[in-house]
Every structure is written in structure tokens, then in C-alpha cells.
Symmetry: C2
Subunit: 161 residues, 2 copies
DNA sequence: CGGGGTGTGTTACATTGTAACGAAATACGG
DNA sequence: CCGTATTTCGTTACAATGTAACACACCCCG
């Protein structure tokens, strides 16, 4: 059923979900942040796959679960999850994906497959530092870095539609 | 008048504009692409500053010039300019900015000031290649790279509001 | 001058995101 | 435990961003 055989990018996804939720609980507990049932449900829905998911898709899923179905509900939960570093926003897609390393701040880059929407979070050594250094040289104070690589993942290169 | 003394990031901006337009003409001529009056006007409006400008701001400016004022007009012009590499889209802002090197494809990163909206296009050596290499190692075929750094430019760090 | 392709005008709508306000739930000092 | 402050949530209404579809104008070419 959920998250098992789906062919591409196979792995024990139940494990991913469990780990993500456990991590989230711990991180929030440590910080005194409240991972309410609603926020947790949204986080679960995002972690339902490793694919980019949109706010209104989340909204629809919540609706199917009999929840309130108004945009602010979802956007507020997303805002919280972003603040806590539990998810990433994909700017070039207006979409969201679970963060692999929510325990601490980190540089990251996203490989986004335009074929299957799979998103891989990587940290290419040196990239974050190089950007920071260049900015510093120009007197620019960095607050946030967005690095998004679009293309086709190995699966979709091998197996085009 | 237009683009002269504005204090921050001072430079001969008239020169920027002339150069951008000349470049655009040449590039389009070489490729047989049609830089129509409408498209050129939109490009001029974008180059009116080095700041990120939004589609609906362009729309409003066009309206003030007595042009047609419907969204598709602007979005189609933007699409053309993006295809020709004459402008960049800033994904994290839903905004647009003139490209500094429209003559040829190139890696680039954008430093976006959240204080004054100024956008600086840079090419940090190695960053584009490092991202490409990492992707290749994962079997990922890159189509497009988006690198956007938000923060405060030197002017705004020195002179906060 | 007629036909095909490209560009533009226009209508209508889809998608994405937010402000504002009140009600409910939770935290917190006494 | 109670009353109050704060946070979270529900709801309405709307703002901002972007697109599909079709009609018309223009231009090149034969």
C-alpha cells in the first residue's frame, strides 16, 4: 500500500516517514515549539512521498480527511514547518518537500526531476561556502540561499515518457 | 531624469540601458528572433533599474504608456525575453531582472537585496560546475539551475531603514 | 491577392497566497 | 483551581500571479 512498491526511487519509505516524524517531535520538544495535530498531519502528508507537493494539494488531502479546507489553515501550518526547518519550499515550483536534516541548519541544494517530481536534497561540498564568500566580498549579508536544479532524474532519463 | 542620481548603486545607468538594448537587438538579429516594439518596450521597462520588477508592475507601466493592459500581453513578452536569455526570472520573488550577459548561455547566481530590491548577477567560479558534477554523479540530467541568494546589500547593511 | 505563420488583443478563468477578525484551545501566574 | 494572556485555528473575503482559448491584425511569400 502506501509508499511501497512504486517502482522508481524504491526504498523503505515507511522508515523515512517514521524518522521524519520522530525527528520533528524531538526538535519541536527541544525548542518548545508546538507540533500540533494539524501541523503534524500536514507534515505527514508532505512526507507521504519525496515529491514536491503544492499547498492546494495538501488542502485537498486535508479535505478528504474531513478537516477544515480553507487556504489559511494549510499556509499557516506550512509557515510553522518552514520556520522550524522541517520542510523546504521549492520556489521555482511553489511547492514543498520534507527536509532530510531538520535537526540543524545546513546548506542544501535541491535536485528536482521535471519528469516525476522527485526531489533529492544534496549538499555539494563547497557550494554554500563559495556563495557565502562571494557575497561577503561584495559586502552582501546573506540571509537565505535558494539552489534548485531542474532536470531529469536517472530513472526518468532511462525511462522517458 | 530616469535612472540618474538615485544614490545607492550609483553608476551610469543610461549606459547599462543602451548596452542592454543594443545587445538585445544584435542577439535577436543574429538568431532571426523578432524583437518587436512591444517586446522591446518591456525590456526597456525591466532595464529601467537593476531591481527586481514584477509582471503586474510592468503591466501597470505599460498601461500608463497607453498600451494594452492585459496580463497575457506582458507574460508573452516575458516568455520571449526569457527564451532569448535577455532577462532572468527570480523564482523566489515572482519577478524579473535584466540579464547582464545575454550574448551567450552562462552560469549565474543572483544576489537579491531584501532591503532595496537591487539584484546583482554574479558567476562564482566553480559553483555551476560543482552542481553539474554532483548531478551527473547521481545520473541526473540538468536542464536549469536556479541560484538565488537573499539578504542585504552593502548599502542596506550600512544604512538600515 | 490569397494563405500560412507569427504576434497581439481580449475574455474569461485557474492558481497561489493573505489580511482581518472572532472563537477555541493552551499556557501561566496567582 | 481560576482568570487572564497568548497562541492556534476557523472563516470570510479578497489580492496577486498566471494561463487557456479564440479572434483579429500583420507580414512574408508565392
Amino acid at each position: 500500500m502506501a509508499g511501497s512498491g512504486k517502482a522508481a526511487h524504491s526504498h523503505d519509505h515507511q522508515h523515512c516517514i517514521r524518522e521524519a516524524l520522530t525527528s520533528a517531535e524531538r526538535v519541536c520538544a527541544e525548542r518548545g515549539a508546538r507540533l500540533t495535530p494539524l501541523r503534524k498531519r500536514v507534515l505527514e502528508l508532505i512526507w507521504d512521498s519525496h515529491e514536491a507537493i503544492k499547498a492546494y494539494e495538501l488542502l485537498e488531502s486535508l479535505g478528504a480527511l474531513g478537516e477544515s479546507t480553507k487556504p489559511p489553515t494549510v499556509y499557516r501550518a506550512l509557515e510553522f514547518l518552514l520556520e522550524q526547518g522541517l520542510i523546504h519550499r521549492i520556489e521555482s515550483e511553489n511547492a514543498y518537500v520534507g527536509c532530510r536534516h531538520p535537526e540543524e541548519a545546513h546548506d542544501y541544494q535541491l535536485l528536482i526531476c521535471d519528469g516525476c517530481r522527485h526531489v533529492e536534497e544534496v549538499e555539494v561540498p563547497g557550494v554554500g561556502a563559495a556563495l557565502k564568500d562571494q557575497a561577503s566580498q561584495l559586502g552582501f549579508r546573506v540571509h537565505q540561499k535558494t539552489v534548485e536544479i531542474h532536470g531529469l532524474c536517472a530513472q526518468c532519463v532511462a525511462n522517458p515518457r
